[in-house]
Each structure stands twice: as structure tokens, then as C-alpha cells.
């Protein structure tokens, strides 16, 4: 098989996915934190703050979609660290000196991120059931919610991969997870934007996380979705296209000879 055929490129990508998934699986700390953190946040909001927040429904039913976004956002952001580790160790030189398309290393990390997030999201959903989450979604609704979350994870993972490429250290790449933990607070994830100061309302009402949260909430708990789903889809697709383009452009720049 030539090193430059499509089959070779697919085979190399499969090899790198296999590698990243194995590395992610063995990085027990990261997997553990990416599950424990959202579950603790959920407990905090449901049992401590929830009683003081009036959303017109059982608070857990309001907050779970936001917690799911926080889970996936945080999980996707850790992709930046894995990529930064490869870019700043000898690994990228090794891969670039082989007759392969070394960009496959990023695809590997993104695929591992999706796998990791599928696991953590499933576990967080199970935990939410234990805390009293009672969705009234049909199978179709579940599929729509999962599909949207998946698209969101893939897009964010590519964004994280792109930032990992330019990060000068694993530590600086880790700041992305901080932003991903923080951004949902400025959305409708935890409180209704109407309760926020007037200058903040337009921001929180129109930022992408709000649309995705509203859409997932609509699918799972039956509140009217309105045009949130369309906006959410548009945001995610746009973010995905932008992120893949950004990641490949940054990768080309960083490895320009």
C-alpha cells in the first residue's frame, strides 16, 4: 500500500484513533474528574441553590440539559491538553518524520474526545435519574438531543484541538477547560436570562450555549423548542466548520518547514 493513497490515510487515522482512545482510557484521572465534576455541580445546583431558583418547573428538570453541556464542554476542552502534549514533546517530530499524514494525530484526539464524552455524558444522565430527573421524551426526542450534543462535542473538540496546536505547554492548554466550565453560567443553563441584569441579557440569550441548552431542554422535557433547535444546529455546524479550518490552518503554520 502506498503511503499516499486514500486507504493509507484512513489506515493511519484509524491507528491514531486507536492510540488516542487507549491513552484516554488509561488517563483515569481525567475521565474520573470529567464525570465527578458535573455530578457534583448537579448535586450543588439541585440540592443547594435549586430551592432558591424559580424556573416554573422542578429545578432538576430545568438544570440537567445545562449540566450535560457543561460535561461535554469540559470534556472536549481536555482535548487541548492531549494535543498540546504531543505538539510540545518529541512525538510530533517522530510522526512528521514518518511518511504519513501527521494531521491524523489531531483526528485521533478528537475521536478519543468523542468516545470519552459519550461515556461521561451517559454516566451523568444516569446520575441525574438517581437525583430525580424525569424527562418525558420519546425515542425520537432522545435521538435529537443526543445528536445535537454529539455535534456540539465534535465541534468543540476540534476547536480544542486547534488551540492545543498553538499552546506552548499543557498547562496553558488547560485554561480552555476553565472557560468551558465558566461559559454555561452566562447562558440559560442554570437560571433564566430574564433574571440577569439588562446589559447581560442579550449576551446570555444569544450565545450558542443558550441555544443548545434550550434545544436539548425542549427535546427532553417537552418545553416548547421554538427556533432554538435551528439556531443550535446552525451554531454547531458553523463552529465545526470554523474549528476544523482553524485546526488545520494552525497545524500547517505550527509545522511549517
Amino acid at each position: 500500500m502506498s503511503h499516499h493513497s486514500v486507504a493509507a490515510a484512513l489506515s493511519d487515522t484509524a491507528t491514531m484513533i486507536d492510540r488516542s482512545v487507549r491513552l484516554a482510557r488509561r488517563n483515569v484521572d481525567t475521565v474520573f474528574v470529567s464525570i465527578l465534576l458535573p455530578v457534583l455541580m448537579m448535586a450543588l445546583f439541585v440540592y443547594v441553590f435549586g430551592g432558591a431558583i424559580n424556573t416554573g418547573t422542578a429545578y432538576i428538570n430545568y438544570v440537567v440539559p445545562g449540566i450535560l453541556l457543561l460535561t461535554t464542554g469540559y470534556g472536549a476542552a481536555t482535548t487541548a491538553m492531549a494535543v498540546a502534549d504531543d505538539m510540545n514533546s518529541g512525538m510530533i517530530d517522530r510522526l512528521r518524520s514518518l511518511p504519513i499524514r501527521s494531521f491524523a494525530v489531531l483526528t485521533g484526539h478528537v475521536a478519543a474526545s468523542v468516545a470519552r464524552n459519550a461515556l461521561s455524558t451517559t454516566l451523568v444522565i444516569l446520575a441525574s435519574f438517581a437525583m430525580g430527573f424525569r424527562p418525558n421524551a420519546t425515542a425520537g426526542d432522545w435521538l435529537a438531543a443526543i445528536g445535537l450534543l454529539l455535534l456540539y462535542v465534535v465541534a468543540l473538540s476540534w476547536l480544542a484541538a486547534g488551540l492545543g496546536v498553538v499552546a506552548r505547554s499543557v498547562e496553558s492548554a488547560s485554561t480552555l477547560s476553565f472557560f468551558m466550565l465558566f461559559l454555561p453560567y452566562l447562558s440559560s443553563a442554570f437560571v433564566q436570562p430574564g433574571t440577569m441584569p439588562s446589559w447581560l441579557q442579550p449576551i446570555s440569550a444569544h450565545q450558542p450555549i443558550t441555544y443548545v441548552v434550550e434545544a436539548v431542554r425542549g427535546f427532553l422535557t417537552g418545553v416548547p423548542v421554538g427556533n432554538s433547535a435551528t439556531f443550535a444546529l446552525a451554531w454547531c455546524v458553523g463552529l465545526l466548520v470554523f474549528s476544523v479550518a482553524l485546526a488545520s490552518s494552525l497545524y500547517r503554520q505550527r509545522t511549517r518547514r
Partner: protein, 301 residues
Amino acid sequence: MIVEATALRKSYGATEVLSGIDLALPEGSVLALLGPNGAGKTTTVRILSTLIRPNAGSATIAGYDVVRQAAQVRGVISLTGQYAAVDENQTGRENLAMVGRLMHLGRRGADRRTGELLEQFGLTDAMHRRVKTYSGGMRRRLDLAMSLVARPQVIFLDEPTTGLDPASRSTMWEAIGELVRDGTTILLTTQYLEEADRLADRIVLLDHGRIVADGTADALKAQVGGERVELQFASEPEVRKATDVLGAVAVVGPLRLSVPSDGTAVHLHHLLDLLRDNGTVPERVSAHRPTLDDVFLALTA
């Protein structure tokens, strides 16, 4: 010439790190690029292994141009960088198998090659352990093994033993020596004259991006005058008695003389007899082989 470089130049901003390097390696030869940090060793290797482009000059590996035919060059070379490029959270076997799959050896081919390399580098017992449990020496050996999976024609080794303890260093030397015996063309960089001496047919001395000397290890050492014996005496009168009988000597410190030597016991014996016959005995005697520092001082001064 399987590796040929002509007038390679590389600058980063206003800083020129390579100011015109010419190299030529016949097939099966071993060349050491010797020099201190910042001499341009790693930059040279990175250009030849297609990771960066030169600003001027050209280079070919097995007839392929490193800039225009980078993909073909990558098919015949391998690079073992300064920092072990191994996955800590994969086992030794998994690391090797990964490269085997990337080189499209097929599952069975990759397994067979992995087994051979684990055996060759003494890692068979550790093959199921994650690399993070490996010692520094084992990591370097795995790193080298990973760069041999596809049997490259030309191997670049960037400071293969820097940071290793003496025992691991000599194991690494044996492993590299075996490649040399197999007839692989090797270009290695090092800060240690001893390493260059032991592994290479020819040494190119780099300083501030220029070649300051080029030759066999013996030729370079001859240029700095070979080994010397240092003699420490108890008092000035003793020193005078010694200089009377020894003739031309260098005074290298208070009550310290330095004498050229061939490093043999016979010569040392002869020297001490000569001194004793003239009524003096040195307090201390030490032998000095030329170090990289000596070579540098002599050739860059």
C-alpha cells in the same frame, strides 16, 4: 553519497544558526556532529530529516531533495530526537506496534518486527509494562527501536545519550554499534568527544553554525596534542629539579607541570624513573585525555 548537504543556511529572525554547512556521507558510514549547545547540530538534523526548511543551500538523502521530495525522504530515513518520543501510557509493545501499523507492515508483519526489536533492545521482559515505569535508558532504547521499525537506510540520532547514566550510555552505545555493524548509515549529534570517538568514522566539529574541523577522531586529537600527564610537586626546588631533567614542559598551576604523553604505563614509568634519578618525586600524578573543551579551545581560539 547517500547524504549530501551543500551550503546549508538557516536563520531565525536576525539570528543565523547555520552559516553554510557542507556534509557528505558515503553509504554505511557514521558521522558525528560534535559541538556545544547552540552550535547548530539539532538544526542540521532537523533540516536533513525534513522537519524544517533551510533558508539557503540544498540537501539530498538517497538522491531525494529534502525540501521538494520530503515525502520520499521520509520513506528512507528515521529520526530519534533529543527527547524520547514514546507514549508513557502505552506499553513498549504497543508503542512499537503503533509505528508498525503506521508503516503499513500489516498486522502479522508489525507483530514480527515488534518481537524482533524488543529482543534486540533487551525489552522483551518489559514489553507489557507501560513506558512510564521504564528507566531513562529503557526509554531511549525503545525510542531507538521505534525509529528502526521500517529498516531505514539513514538514521539520524540527535544526542542519543544526553542525560543517561554511564551504564545506560554504554548499553545505548552497544545498540548503536550493532546498527553500525549492520551497515546502516548514521548521522549522530553529540556533545561528548568520547561518544563521537567510539561510534563515528568521521567527526565534524560545529561551532556557532560553522564547521570548524572535519576529520577522524585521531586526527582531531592530534591537532590538540594528545594526552598529557600532570605532575604536582611539594615545593619550588622540587619543581626546578623536575624541569632540569624534563626539559620543555608547560606550567599549568602553582607547583604543577604538564608533560605530553602517549598514555602508556611504560611512558609513565620512564617519566617517574627520570625524576627519581634526579632526586625528586611528585606528590600527585594524573593523566589527562583531551576533552571536547581542549579540542574546542585549540580549534576555535
